[in-house]
C-alpha cells in the first residue's frame, strides 16, 4: 500500500501509479494537454507541473510515479504562475481565432486559458504564419493552432499503427504533416481528430456548420458498417447528423473508430434516399402510397402462394438490418408465406464457415472477444487483411505485435506490413498444400492433443509433403520452420479467417485444415465479418436451415417449439440458399423474391446471372433506403428507415448484442413495421408496437437470447452464451471435400479487393468515403505491370468470361503476380460482374478464385 498526500488529502493506492492518476482517483484535477489516457506518456506540454516536497524542481504529474510518503501540491500560487507562463508560451504563436474555429467550446486550450486567466499579451513579435491546409478531402490541418502536443502522432503511430503523420522539423518549426505534406492518403480513421485538444486537425464534414453547444442530441448507438460493432455517438442538430464520434471506455472500440464508422454517416441524409413507395406501372416505377403498395404486395404474394405454392416465394434478409427486422422477416416468410426459402449474403462466406467451424468445435466457437487478440502471443491470419475488413479488430492485431506477440500470415497483408509478420506467401493454387504441410509439421512437433477423436481421425489420411513445400509453394524452408516453431510455442494463439479463404476452391477443406491447426495448438478462431449484423441475422434464423437461436430446422423438437410459439405449422424441409434461389428463378420454379435491405444484383457474384434470374420472376419486392441496382428491377419498391432512424439491436462477430438507437427522426416505417403491415394484410396478424416488444418475443423463443432485455443490454456485456451453457456441442461427423484450385501459372486471376473505405451500397452514398476513394481501380503487381507495359493510371479493359470493364490500373507491390485485385464497391465497376462461381459442397459458399481475367491497355 502506498500512501501519498495531495493538497493535504491522504490517498492510499494499491500500486504505483503516476501522480496524475493518483490525483484523478481522488477527484483532484490537474490540467493537462499532451497527456491522453489512450496514449503513451510524453511529458511535453508542462501544464501538469506540480510541487513535490524534497524534490528541487517542479515535476510533471503525468510522468512522475508516486512513492510512499510523497507530499504533493497541485494548486499553489507558484504553480498557477507557472501554468500561466506555459499557456503564454502556447499562445504567443497561436492565432487566437476562436470566433472562427470549430473547436471553440470544446477546446482544451481555450478552457485552460479561461481557467488560469491570461489577459494581456506581451509578445510584440511577428506570429508564425502557416496557411490552413485544405488539400485533403476529409481532414483540415491548421498548424497555427497546433500546440505540438503530438497526441495525433502518438495516436497515429502508437495506437492506430498507421504512422501516416509525423512531426516535421524541430523546435519552433515543428508541425504535423502527412507524408505528402498535403493530402493525408492514410487510413482516415480520424483518431487524430479525436485526440487533438485544439482546432489543429479537424474533420471537414461539418466544417463551420455548427457549434458544439448547439447540438440537439447525442445518441450512443452501434456503427452500421462492419461486424465488429463499434460503439458510436451520433451527434445531431435539426435531424441532420453532424458528427459521429467514438467514446472512451466502451468495450469494443474504446475511443477508436475507422474511416467508415467516423466519416461514412452521410448516407443517412443523402438526397437520393427513397421517400415514397414505388410501383411498376407500364414498365416504369412510379410513386405510390403505402396503402396501395402494401395491399398490392399482400395480394400478389397470396396469389402466387395459392397458385404455385409457398415455396415459389423466397426472401432475402439483410445483415444491415436489426435483429428485430430480421426476426420479423423470417417469421413473415415462415408463417405468413410458409416457406424456409430465406437466406442472405451471409451465404457468400460467413454463414457456411461459421456453421462448419461450430460443427467441429461447438456453438460459439467463433464468438471470441476481439480485444483478446491483443493479449494473444501469436495471431495467425489467413484469407483477408483484417485491418481493412474489420479495422478495429485489425488494431488489436497490431497491438498484439506491439506487445511482443508474433503475427503469422498466410498471404501478404498490407495493413500488417510494419508489424513484422512472419509471412508465408504460397504461390498460386498451393495454399491447401501449405496448410496440409503446417498441420503435418505441427502434429509431428506437438502430437495430437487427444481431445477430439473425430477430428484427429480425419487427420490420418492427410497427404502432406512437407519436404517438398518449398518447391510446391515457392516458400523458403527456413521461413516455414520459423513459422511452425512460433506457432508451436504459442501459448495463447488466435486464428483470424477472412472470406478469401472461404471463397476459394477447396475452401471448406482449407477451413478444416485451419481448424485442425487451431485444435493442435489450442487456439481460438475469429471469423471476419463484413456486415454489422451478419451474426445477428443468422441468430435470428434468416437461413434456409435455421430457426431463431441458430436452431437447425430439421430437428423435429425444435420445430415443435417454434410451431407452439408461433401457433402454426411450419415447413420442415430446408429452403433454398441465396444461390439456389437465383438458379430456381432462372429455371422458372421460383416466382417471387422479397428482398429486404440487400442488393443481390451488386452483392452476389455473376451479375448477369443474378439479373437474368430476377428478370424471370413474376414479382420482385425490394425494401431499401436507396434505389439500388436490384430495386430498379423491382415491381414494388418500399422506402425503409436507415440504421440511424430506428431502434433495435445488432449482434457483432463476438455475438455481443448491442442496442441500436434512433438518433434522427424521419417519416417512414421500420423494416419490421412494413413487414408486419403486409403480414396482417395477408391475414397473419402481427401487432408489434415497437422493437423492444419484438425483442421480448425473440428472448422468449430463442434459447440464445434467453432472459435478455434492452435494460440488460444497456448495461453492457450481453455476449452469447448470455446465460447458461453453450447450446450445441461438436458433432461426430466432419464433412470434408478435398479439392483445390486449378489456376494455371502465368495467367491472371481476378481477386476481390476489400478496401478500407468502402462496404458496398452504403459507403458509395457517403460523399466523404467517395472523396477518399473515388473510383474502382484494378491493382496489379509491378511484374504484371511490366509484362503488360502498364503504369499507374493507365486505362485497361478487364475482361473475363462473364463481362468486361474499363478502368484504371494501380501498380501495387503488395499484389501477387498472378492476381488482379478489384473491389466490388463501385456502381458498374464491381468485381462480381466479372466473376462466375462454383458452390462449395460443404459451406455452400461460392468459390471465386478461378476467374481468369485478361487486361488490355486502352489507348485514348
Amino acid at each position: 500500500m502506498i500512501t501519498v498526500t495531495i493538497n493535504g488529502k491522504e490517498i492510499k493506492l494499491e500500486k504505483a501509479v503516476t501522480v496524475l492518476e493518483a490525483a484523478r482517483s481522488a477527484g483532484i484535477k490537474i490540467p493537462t494537454l499532451c497527456w491522453h489516457e489512450q496514449l503513451e506518456k510524453y511529458g511535453g506540454c508542462r501544464l501538469c507541473l506540480v510541487e513535490v516536497e524534497k524534490m528541487p524542481r517542479l515535476q510533471t504529474a503525468c510522468t512522475l510515479m508516486v512513492a510512499d510518503g510523497m507530499i504533493i501540491r497541485t494548486e499553489t500560487d507558484t504553480i498557477a504562475e507557472v501554468r500561466r507562463g506555459v499557456l503564454e508560451f502556447l499562445l504567443i504563436n497561436h492565432p487566437l481565432d476562436c470566433p472562427y474555429c470549430d473547436k471553440a467550446g470544446e477546446c482544451e486550450l481555450q478552457d485552460l486559458v479561461e481557467k488560469y486567466g491570461l489577459t494581456k499579451g506581451r509578445f510584440r513579435e511577428q506570429k508564425r504564419k502557416v496557411p490552413e491546409a485544405l488539400e485533403d478531402p476529409v481532414l483540415v490541418r491548421n498548424m497555427e493552432r497546433c500546440i505540438v502536443c503530438t497526441r495525433c502522432v502518438r495516436m497515429c503511430e502508437g495506437v492506430q499503427g498507421a504512422s501516416a503523420i509525423s512531426v516535421i522539423n524541430r523546435g519552433g518549426h515543428s508541425h504535423i504533416e502527412p507524408f505528402s505534406g498535403g493530402r493525408f492518403d492514410c487510413e482516415y480513421c480520424g483518431n487524430c481528430v479525436s485526440v487533438c485538444p485544439v482546432g489543429a486537425i479537424m474533420s471537414r464534414l461539418h466544417r463551420h456548420s455548427y457549434r458544439p453547444w448547439q447540438l440537439g442530441s447525442e445518441t450512443k448507438t452501434v456503427c452500421p458498417y462492419c461486424g465488429v460493432g463499434c460503439t458510436v455517438v451520433v451527434q445531431v442538430r435539426d435531424d441532420i447528423i453532424k458528427r459521429v464520434v467514438p467514446k472512451l471506455g466502451t468495450v469494443v472500440n474504446n475511443g477508436l473508430l475507422c474511416s467508415r464508422g467516423r466519416f461514412g454517416y452521410e448516407f443517412v441524409g443523402n438526397k437520393e434516399r427513397l421517400t415514397t413507395p414505388l410501383i411498376r406501372k407500364n414498365g416504369l416505377l412510379e410513386p405510390s402510397t403505402w396503402e396501395e403498395a402494401i395491399r398490392l404486395i399482400a395480394s400478389r404474394l397470396s396469389e402466387i402462394k395459392d397458385k404455385h405454392g409457398s415455396n415459389a416465394i423466397a426472401g432475402i434478409a439483410s445483415p444491415r438490418c436489426t435483429n428485430e427486422d430480421n426476426y420479423v422477416f423470417q417469421k413473415f416468410m415462415r408463417v405468413a408465406v410458409g416457406t424456409n426459402n430465406i437466406d442472405s449474403t451471409a451465404r457468400t462466406g460467413f454463414a457456411g464457415a461459421q456453421g462448419f467451424i461450430e460443427n467441429i468445435f461447438g456453438q460459439g466457437a467463433t464468438g471470441n472477444i476481439i480485444s483478446g487478440l491483443a493479449n494473444s502471443d501469436a495471431v495467425f491470419v489467413i484469407g483477408g487483411d483484417p485491418t481493412t475488413i474489420n479495422p478495429i479488430l485489425g488494431l488489436q492485431i497490431r497491438a498484439c505485435s506491439r506487445r511482443g506477440g508474433n503475427i503469422l500470415t498466410v498471404g501478404h497483408m498490407k495493413g500488417l506490413r510494419y508489424y513484422t509478420p512472419l509471412e508465408l506467401r504460397p504461390s498460386v493454387n498451393t495454399e491447401i498444400a501449405l496448410l496440409e504441410g503446417i498441420v503435418s509439421a505441427l502434429m509431428k512437433k506437438k502430437g495430437p492433443p487427444g481431445s477430439h477423436p473425430v477430428l484427429e481421425a480425419r487427420l490420418k489420411d492427410l497427404n502432406a509433403q512437407e519436404a517438398d513445400l518449398p518447391r510446391i509453394c515457392g516458400i523458403q524452408g527456413k521461413d516455414f520452420s520459423r513459422f511452425i516453431d512460433t506457432l508451436a510455442e504459442a501459448a495463447t494463439p488466435s486464428f483470424v479467417i477472412g472470406k478469401d479463404m472461404i471463397q476459394s476452391k477447396g475452401g471448406s477443406y482449407g477451413l478444416f485444415l485451419v481448424s485442425a491447426i487451431n485444435y493442435i495448438v489450442n487456439g481460438r478462431i475469429y471469423l471476419l465479418s463484413e456486415r454489422a449484423n451478419e451474426q445477428g441475422l443468422l441468430d435470428m434464423g434468416c437461413a434456409p436451415d435455421l430457426f431463431p437461436g441458430y436452431r437447425p430446422i430439421t430437428y423435429p423438437e425444435f420445430r415443435k417449439r417454434y410451431e407452439n410459439a408461433w401457433k402454426t405449422g411450419l415447413p420442415d424441409k430446408p429452403g433454398l440458399t441465396i444461390f439456389e434461389m437465383m438458379e430456381a428463378a432462372k429455371a422458372g420454379a421460383l416466382k417471387c423474391i422479397y428482398v429486404m435491405g440487400e442488393n443481390p444484383v451488386f452483392n452476389l457474384p455473376h451479375t448477369k446471372d443474378v439479373e437474368a434470374g430476377l428478370k424471370n420472376l413474376s414479382f420482385l419486392v425490394v425494401q431499401d433506403i436507396f434505389l439500388t441496382e436490384t430495386a430498379k428491377m423491382a415491381d414494388v419498391v418500399l422506402p425503409a428507415l436507415s440504421w440511424a432512424e430506428k431502434d433495435g439491436t445488432f449482434t457483432n462477430m463476438e455475438r455481443r448484442i448491442q442496442l441500436v438507437k434512433k438518433a434522427v427522426h424521419r417519416e417512414g416505417m421500420e423494416d419490421w413495421k412494413i413487414l408486419s403491415e403486409i403480414s396482417s394484410n395477408m391475414g397473419v396478424r402481427m401487432n408489434y408496437s415497437d422493437a423492444e416488444e419484438i425483442f421480448g418475443e425473440i428472448c422468449r423463443v430463442s434459447p440464445l437470447h434467453r432472459d435478455l432485455n434492452y435494460e440488460e443490454i444497456e448495461k453492457g456485456d450481453a455476449i452469447y452464451p448470455y446465460k447458461g451453457e453453450p447450446l450445441r456441442g461438436s458433432t461426430d461427423e466432419i464433412h470434408i471435400e478435398k479439392s483445390a484450385g486449378r489456376e494455371e501459372r502465368g495467367k491472371l486471376y481476378l481477386r476481390v479487393e476489400r478496401p478500407l473505405f468502402h462496404s458496398g451500397t452504403l459507403s458509395r452514398k457517403a460523399p466523404a468515403l467517395v472523396n477518399i476513394c473515388p473510383e474502382a481501380v484494378a491493382r496489379i503487381s509491378p511484374a504484371t505491370a511490366a509484362a503488360l507495359s502498364l503504369k499507374d493510371g493507365d486505362i485497361v479493359r478487364a475482361s473475363s468470361k462473364t463481362g468486361a470493364l474499363e478502368l484504371p490500373v494501380a501498380v501495387d507491390e503488395a499484389i501477387d503476380d498472378s492476381a488482379v485485385m478489384l473491389s466490388n464497391n463501385f456502381q458498374g465497376k464491381g468485381a462480381f460482374s466479372l466473376m462466375e462461381y462454383e458452390i462449395d459442397p460443404v459451406t455452400k459458399a461460392p468459390c471465386l478464385d478461378s476467374n481468369q481475367i485478361i487486361l488490355e491497355k486502352v489507348n485514348r
Binding site: V167, F179, Y418
Partner: protein, 154 residues
C-alpha cells in the same frame, strides 16, 4: 528506388544493429548521397528497404540539420557562425560568400556549384573561423583563403 548496390550497403549497415529501425539515420545518409537530396522517392526507398513507414522516415529526417530537403549544389559549404567563429569575423565571411559567389544561407549558387549552410558549432573553435567543404575542414579562414579553397571545388 535505390540501386542494387545501395540496397546491399543498407543491408550491411542494418547488420550492425539489433533492429532495422536503428539503421534509419545511416540509411538516410545513403539516400541523400544516392538521390542528391531527400526527395519523396528517397524517403520511399528508405521506407521500403528498412520497413519503416515513410512518414516516420520523413519526420525523423527533418529533425536533423544535416539532411538536405531540397536539391543541393555540387559542393556543400558549411560555414560556422557560432560565438567563437563569430567573434573572429565569421559574419564578414558570410557577406563575402554572398557578394563573391552569390551564396545565400541555405541557398545554392546560380551555377549549381555550391550550396551554403550556416552551421552551429563544428568543433573548430580554436582555429576559428572555420568551415567544412563537403567532408573537409578548413580553419583560420580569411576571405582570400576562402577564394583559394573554393578554387579546388569545381
Amino acid at each position: 528506388m535505390f540501386r542494387e548496390t545501395a540496397i546491399k550497403e543498407i543491408e550491411a549497415i542494418r547488420e550492425q544493429y539489433p533492429t532495422a529501425r536503428a539503421a534509419l539515420l545511416p540509411a538516410i545518409y545513403v539516400a541523400q548521397r544516392e538521390f542528391g537530396w531527400l526527395s519523396p522517392e528517397a524517403y520511399e526507398s528508405v521506407s521500403s528497404v528498412l520497413g519503416v513507414p515513410r512518414a516516420t522516415v520523413r519526420g525523423v529526417a527533418t529533425f536533423y540539420a544535416m539532411y538536405k530537403h531540397r536539391p543541393m549544389g555540387r559542393h556543400l559549404v558549411q560555414l560556422c557562425t557560432n560565438v567563437s567563429c563569430m567573434i573572429l569575423g565569421a559574419e564578414k565571411l558570410v557577406d563575402f560568400l554572398k557578394n563573391r559567389y552569390g551564396l545565400e544561407a541555405g541557398g545554392m549558387s546560380s551555377d549549381g556549384r555550391f550550396s551554403l549552410v550556416i552551421m552551429e558549432c563544428i568543433g573548430a573553435c580554436g582555429t576559428a573561423p572555420a568551415m567544412l567543404v563537403n567532408n573537409d575542414f578548413y580553419e583560420n579562414l580569411t576571405e582570400k583563403y576562402i577564394e583559394e579553397i573554393l578554387e579546388k571545388y569545381r
